[in-house]
Amino acid sequence: MPMINGEFRPKIVAFCCNWCSYGGADLAGSSRLSYPADVKIIRVPCSGRVNPMFILRAFERGADGVIICGCHPGDCHYSTGNYYARRRMTLLFSMLEYIGIENGRTRVEWVSAAEGVKFQATMNEFVEKVKSLGENVRLGDLRCKD
């Protein structure tokens, strides 16, 4: 289990859409709103770009939590991408739960480019949740372990 100073530090992948949530994360940054360094952000053009494959891959490679952030419903830069993301992820997450990846490890959240505070709060909350669930052992590929 990856521990720093005796504390479990989860690996968290955050997919953020370029137009809203990545901007929200930037605003959190420029407002110096701190959240755990465990979160690593991948920029995607739209939450609808996130292929379920990416999430499976992340868990397989040892991620402990995956969060997808997009524009608020109705505000998608591409009109409908976030709706597809929401539907697709609802299905995927229920399937993941079925195979033992707890619902707390996956999340979809709407964060606009003006919501630095919400970005911070979301990440703090999500990291806490994943920490409480502990390491993801269910889907992790043992060959990827040190």
């Binding site: 720093i4 690996k11 992948v13 370029n18 137009w19 809203c20 990545y22 901007g23 994360a25 930037d26 959190a28 940054g29 420029s30 110096r32 709103l33 701190s34 959240y35 360094a37 690593k40 952000i41 991948i42 920029r43 995607v44 053009p45 739209c46 609808g48 770009r49 996130v50 292929n51 379920p52 494959m53 990416f54 891959r57 992340a58 490679r61 040892g62 991620a63 524009c71 109705g74 505000d75 998608c76 830069h77 591409y78 009109s79 409908t80 991408g81 597809y84 697709r88 606009s112 480019a113 003006a114 919501e115 990827c144």
Partner: protein
């Protein structure tokens, strides 16, 4: 195999103070593909960029990773730099180690470790980047301005003066907006109409400006340079070409009891009406909800008295479709509804009014012909109390968290005008802070206090109590004397917060323009691109972006116009090359991608597909790159993995995931 150079920026101390930049450069040097890694104080500076260019040439780099600020800030800068160095601009990736790392973490070890991981992800991505070519799209040299207030009018005039046609779409029957409702303007006290109406006339007379009043934007499609907009021209019931604007119909209309929106419902208007005497265009509309003819089928007086035969009861809403290169949003503001602030007795007493209602009362063309009168009994008030920040700077859900910016100044204006015209009237202002930043603003406020002896009381009002004798007890606190006070008043004026036009959400959704939690439109960059929306081709003018007064609105309107002109002056626009691409060997023509594409960019054609074990003609997806905006919805939904997004391909994103989870 790529030859990648990694450039780690200190950003002065912005990054270097929390991230050990030298260590980052050291640790990524042995990543696959990396042949060079260095750090420098300001990578975006001319010297920094030159270092990149020199290194590209010296070490034959094929890809660049810059570890610096957000790509939203400087991706374009470094892409241009790569182009100068002779490599494809899309071979650049940014690792955001400032906004997403150094600025939010305090522990150096932790931040450095994260920066290395972010750099590794970017390196892994560049390893799979391919050169991309930008396409070109034509520009429709015509602009649309949504909203015909001072912001929209000024933007339209400025664009038209540069030689480009502009359409203004205004929801109400006349252009003019909020400014036409004002009496005097601060800090010069010149009459609002006298400076606005010439501009309204100029806009309507300009050969390149087309006014669509009593119209609304119904649908927007397309993208920068090529928007297609449906405009609903609501049925005016009056033929604009025939009407001479004589106004006989309005004087003869028997339905005279309709509340006048323009006068903030303080008096009434007729069912066939122009909002105010100087309306542009000076053509009335029939308010069908209140018109006797439309309600009962009987009446038709306006049609009978109209000499020009302009009244047309059969007129229908008309939807016109126009093409534009750029769209400016200038939808302005309204005052908040006060139903949540009933402690001020706005709903209980006619003599508790908002400041915009006072503007109408003070206006010579208003409901009282400019005489300061109580609405309840028409008597001149002797004691007036102004209450500031009603709903502004409000921490709870009832109001707005922001400062509405204009209230301190207009209240000083109102107080001064009242004391000047009615010297025996006592004026008290309850305020939290008096904010007067602006040219000649503080001098103006001081005149109100020193010359006109307006009684400013620092403190908030808890309650306004209507009394049996028709007066109002204002219970407040005087913070400077630290005591509770009660001021008896004949009239109370509330400086209600301003909020963006209630239609703005709908408009923002149509334009896919981002909006903040207070419903103001977001700028592309708060400081450096304040008049542009992050959505290309959408520009912001006036209060739609944030609270501002008239001079600020006019300056911003001009700035928005300049940005529009800059766009329309181009013959061709470079298009985003990060478009979807279909691999015909994997594609089985299932149509899933076409169903999710919001732009109709995917079509199908029969192609001869040749590959390992395949040699047949079959139906495959084809992407129209001119229409594709690169959202990637198709790539995520393709069941066979045939559809992929260039610049954000499945392999690239997976390699980033792998690098982060390593």
């Amino acid at each position: 195999m790529q030859r990648i150079g990694v450039f780690v920026c200190h950003c002065g101390t912005n990054i270097a103070a929390t991230v050990d930049v030298k260590k980052v450069a050291e640790l990524v040097r042995f990543e696959p593909g990396v042949v060079h890694a260095e750090d420098y104080t300001y990578m975006c500076s001319e010297v920094g960029q030159q270092r990149i260019i020199d290194t590209v040439k010296e070490k034959n780099l094929t890809g660049i990773v810059v570890c610096s600020c957000s790509p939203r800030m400087h991706e374009a800068t470094f892409r241009k730099c790569a182009e100068k160095a002779g490599i494809n601009p899309y071979m650049v990736e940014i690792a955001n180690i400032r906004e997403h790392c150094s600025w939010i973490h305090k522990d150096m070890e932790e931040a450095t470790e994260k920066a290395v991981i972010l750099a590794r992800a970017a390196i892994a991505k560049v390893n799979l980047n391919a050169p991309l070519q930008e396409g070109e799209s034509p520009v429709t040299k015509r602009a649309l301005v949504i909203g015909g207030g001072i912001a929209g009018i000024q933007t339209a005039i400025d664009i038209a003066e540069a030689g480009y046609p502009v359409d203004i779409v205004e929801k109400t029957p006349s252009i003019g907006g909020r400014m036409s409702q004002l009496d005097k303007t601060f800090p010069t006290l010149d009459c609002s109409s006298c400076i606005l109406t010439p501009k309204m006339v100029e806009a309507s007379a300009h050969p390149l400006i087309t006014l669509h009043t009593y119209s609304e934007v119904e649908n927007v499609s397309g993208f920068v340079g090529n928007f297609e907009v449906d405009i609903r021209k609501k049925a005016r019931s009056v033929n604009m070409d025939k009407c001479t604007g004589c106004g006989v119909c309005m004087t003869k209309c028997p339905m005279k009891k309709v509340p006048s929106e323009f006068n903030r419902n303080l008096n009434t208007r007729t069912a066939i009406y122009t909002p105010f005497a100087q309306a542009v265009p000076n053509v009335p509309v029939i308010d069908r909800e209140n018109c006797m003819y439309f309600k009962t089928g009987k009446c038709g007086v306006c049609s009978k008295v109209c000499q020009a035969g302009a009244v047309d009861y059969e007129q229908q809403d008309e939807i016109i479709t126009e093409k534009y290169g750029a769209i400016v949003v200038a939808t302005g503001f309204d005052m908040i509804k006060l139903d949540k602030f009933d402690e001020y007795a706005y709903s209980q007493s006619a003599d508790v009014i908002t400041s915009l209602e006072l503007e109408r009362i003070m206006n010579a063309a208003g409901p009282t012909s400019g005489h300061l009168e109580r609405i309840s009994d028409g008597k001149a008030p002797k004691n007036i109390v102004f209450i500031q920040c009603v709903g502004s700077r409000c921490n709870d859900h009832r109001g707005k968290p922001y400062c509405s910016k204009i209230c301190c100044m207009y209240t000083a204006k109102h107080a001064m005008l009242i004391r000047d015209k009615y010297p025996d009237t006592n004026v008290t202002v309850f305020y939290i802070d008096v904010r007067t930043p602006g040219k000649n603003f503080d001098e103006f406020y001081r005149r109100a206090v020193e010359q006109y002896h307006v009684n400013y009381v620092k403190g908030q009002v808890g309650k306004v109590v209507p009394k049996a004798d028709g007066t109002l007890d204002v219970q407040g606190v005087d913070l400077l004397d630290n005591k509770q006070i009660v001021v008896n008043a004949d009239m109370v004026v509330l400086a209600a917060a301003i909020e963006p036009n209630p239609d703005i959400r709908k408009i923002a959704t149509m334009l896919t323009a981002s909006i903040d939690t207070n419903n103001f439109l977001t700028e592309a960059h708060a400081k450096l691109r304040p008049v542009e929306s992050p959505t290309a081709g959408i520009f912001l003018s006036g209060v739609t972006q944030g609270p501002k007064d008239i001079p600020e609105t006019v300056s911003q309107a001009g700035a928005a116009a300049v940005k529009v002109i800059g766009l329309l002056a181009k013959d061709k626009l470079k298009t985003n090359p990060c478009t979807a691409k279909c691999d015909p060997i994997a594609c089985n023509g299932c149509s899933t991608c076409a169903n999710v594409c919001p732009y109709g960019a995917i079509s199908y054609e029969d192609q001869l597909v040749r590959g390992p074990g395949v040699n047949e003609t079959r139906r495959v997806a084809v992407v129209n790159t001119a229409l594709c905006q690169g959202c990637g919805a198709c790539s995520a939904s393709c069941p066979s993995g045939a559809m992929d997004l260039q610049g954000f391909s499945n392999r690239q994103l997976i390699s980033e995931v792998d690098a982060i989870c390593r």
